[in-house]
């Protein structure tokens, strides 16, 4: 009987193998977000999003609150990094993507071929801070070139002259600097390396601005959370994260010299300041790095959600498109009121107006 049994299983396996090879070759890409709509709770339509971890704490908390509002569906957001967010959105395995690096022209072209025009909807502003772990040192000043040298591996000790010159009266230890960066394609990295490229020609010519540059030195962390954890666990470490990760995990972060030559502590105010007096383009792709505004923190970025301009064209059903509009509208209204309590800066008025108009323009619901 066991032989018979084995033979049966064998046949079944062989058959499935044939079927599988038959349709194998170029099977579709997969993500965790597809096909689980039925399992999620909520009364309305379920939406799946993926991407940036910069916005993950905000979006996940929002999704909990949004879920309790009347008639709303459930939102399932996975923080996988901005690179994967853009990719999954383009491949339509998620309903919306999350990114802190606006899509490049060639990425937009690829998306247009897949589902028509893409809208960048900014949902909040955030600062990228240089977090460090040095016992007893709560205040540290850095400027762009020094930060670039640290990430290039040319400044390797905390008591290096370059750092000491910026920090009169601070007793810097003779410890090695342990550099921490991201491992995956990240919008936070894109913003951070954009800053390094702008202030340091050597960085611009070397690793440059990228979602995933070739790092000269350092340990990799997964997501903003992973970088924060790596800094937290290692004395002498330096890393970069969205400010909410630093604040909520009690990590110290350095004041950075801005365009005016003043040292600025990242905060809600200095982040908001960076977004003021800026002429936002109509496609809502922009960079807030090195703002000229007084008191502005230099590494500030918006974080965007990516949606199709015309849901029908992209093959979305009406209910999904309507739900996307509903969710984005909620983010730009009720969500904005809550952003500050989660350490993100709400959008400035003129940007909010443009974003709202963009959401209203979505077709296919």
């Amino acid at each position: 009987m066991s032989v018979k049994h084995a033979a049966l299983v064998l046949t079944a396996l062989a058959a499935s193998a044939i079927v599988a090879t038959g349709c194998g070759g170029d099977t579709k890409e997969v993500t965790g977000q597809s096909a689980n709509a039925s399992s999620a709770g909520g009364s309305g339509t379920a939406l799946n999003g993926a991407g940036s971890t910069f916005q993950e704490p905000l979006v996940v908390k929002w999704s909990g609150d949004y879920g309790t509002t009347k008639g709303a569906g459930s939102i399932n957001y996975q923080g996988v990094g901005s690179g994967a967010g853009i990719e999954q959105f383009t491949k339509k395995t998620v309903d919306f993507g999350g990114t802190d690096a606006p899509m490049k022209d060639e990425e937009i072209a690829a998306a247009q071929a897949a589902g028509g025009d893409v809208l960048h909807i900014p949902i909040a502003l955030g600062a990228v801070v240089a977090t460090y772990n040095l016992e007893g040192i709560d205040e540290l000043k850095l400027d762009g070139p020094t930060l670039a040298d640290i990430y290039e591996g040319t400044v390797t000790k905390w008591n290096d002259e370059a750092i000491a010159d910026l920090n009169d009266g601070v007793k810097l230890p003779d410890t090695d600097i342990a550099v921490v960066h991201r491992t995956e394609e990240s919008g936070t990295t894109f913003v951070f390396t954009g800053y390094l490229s702008a202030v340091d020609p050597e960085w611009a010519d070397g690793p440059g601005q990228s979602k995933a540059p070739k790092w000269p030195v350092g340990t990799g962390g997964q997501g903003n959370d992973g970088v924060a954890a790596a800094v937290q666990q290692q004395q002498g470490a330096i890393g970069y994260t969205e400010i909410s990760y630093a604040l909520q995990n009690d990590l110290s972060f350095a004041q950075l010299k801005n365009e005016d030559g003043e040292f600025v502590q990242a905060s809600l105010e200095s982040t908001t300041a960076a977004g003021e007096g800026f002429d936002y383009p109509d496609d809502l792709r922009f960079s807030l790095l090195n703002s000229k505004t007084k008191g502005a923190y230099p590494i500030v970025s918006a974080t965007w959600q990516l949606v199709w301009a015309d849901g029908a064209k992209a093959g979305q059903d009406k209910a999904t498109t309507a739900e996307i509009k509903n969710w984005l509208t909620w983010e730009l209204t009720d969500g904005q009121d809550e952003a500050a309590s989660l350490d993100y800066a709400p959008l400035p008025k003129d940007l909010l107006d443009k974003a709202t108009a963009a959401v209203d323009s979505i077709q296919g619901d």
Partner: protein, 284 residues
């Protein structure tokens, strides 16, 4: 019979998925350490290197201890203690790797990184193996965690092998007035030698294939560094870390790393099993 088919399917499917990428990359898939999937650079040398280094550290630490434990349990421990102590060692194997990883990253990494590796590195005076900056997440920490995980396997198989040594050999040595150590050295070890080698290789296979615990403590860096205190990646851990975020060729390259790892561990496992089997058969 099913198992044969399954093994065949395993090799077939993963190879088919990854072959195009590996072919397109050519020899540099294993000879280059340039890993930047977003730019199409898919050299995996640094992962192979990390796998070998961490496994070597693990074996260096685990083998003497594991064999010592096995000999203690089968030769000199009081009869009453043998079973409970053996259970405790088995318990070491029953703890899931994610729990070792959790303990490793939240307890071991901060402790070693902040209090041990740094001072060692400072006193080693620039010796390349211990060069700074020393970080808790490193080859060395991964090696320690792997040593803990490989130990129970080596011990268990070594005990099995030692148990097959005929008691006549021990008695003969004892009759000649040998000390306990001499019994072990003259009667036990020569007979069990190839079996113990097999046990060590099985431990090595386990160390090379271990994923989650390593992924948590090794840091994540695709550079090759001589220093044990620097972060790196192993083949298994890079798959686990990058898979969820990967797309396209990147994913197929990761599957390719999986195939490479599988082949490496397969060679080691087959060799080990042959050695263990031969010992058992020789004594039969």
């Amino acid at each position: 019979m099913v198992v044969l088919v399954v093994l065949g399917l395993m090799i077939w499917f993963t190879t088919m998925r990854s072959l195009p990428v590996v072919q397109a990359t050519g020899a540099s898939f294993v000879t280059s350490s340039d890993w930047l999937p977003s730019a199409g650079d898919l050299g995996t040398l640094s992962f192979v290197y990390g796998t070998l280094v961490t496994a070597a550290v693990a074996m260096l630490l685990a083998v003497p201890v594991a064999i010592g434990v096995a000999l203690f349990l089968s030769e000199i421990a009081p009869k009453r203690l043998r079973t409970p102590l053996a259970y405790l060692i088995d318990l070491l194997a029953a703890v899931p790797s994610v729990v070792y990883g959790l303990w490793g990253v939240l307890v071991l990494v901060p402790f070693l990184g902040n209090h041990v590796w740094g001072p060692v590195s400072d006193h080693a005076g620039g010796f390349p193996l211990f060069e700074g900056p020393a970080t808790g997440r490193s080859y060395a920490t991964a090696g320690i965690v792997l040593a803990i995980m490989a130990l129970p396997i080596i011990t268990a198989i070594t005990r099995e092998v030692i148990a097959t040594v005929p008691s006549a050999h021990r008695e003969a040595a004892l009759a000649l007035g040998a000390t306990r150590w001499e019994v072990i050295r003259l009667a036990v070890l020569p007979y069990a030698k190839s079996g113990i080698t097999g046990a060590v290789m099985l431990g090595l296979g386990r160390a090379m294939g271990e994923t989650i615990a390593v992924a948590l403590v090794i840091g994540g860096s695709s550079t090759i560094s001589a220093s044990l205190f620097h972060p790196g990646y192993t083949m298994a851990s890079v798959i686990a870390n990058e898979f969820p975020e990967a797309t396209g060729d990147h994913i197929n390259a990761l599957i390719g790393i999986g195939v490479l790892l599988f082949v490496l561990t397969l060679i080691i496992n087959v060799g080990a099993r042959l050695l263990v089997w031969r010992t058992a058969r020789k004594l039969r």
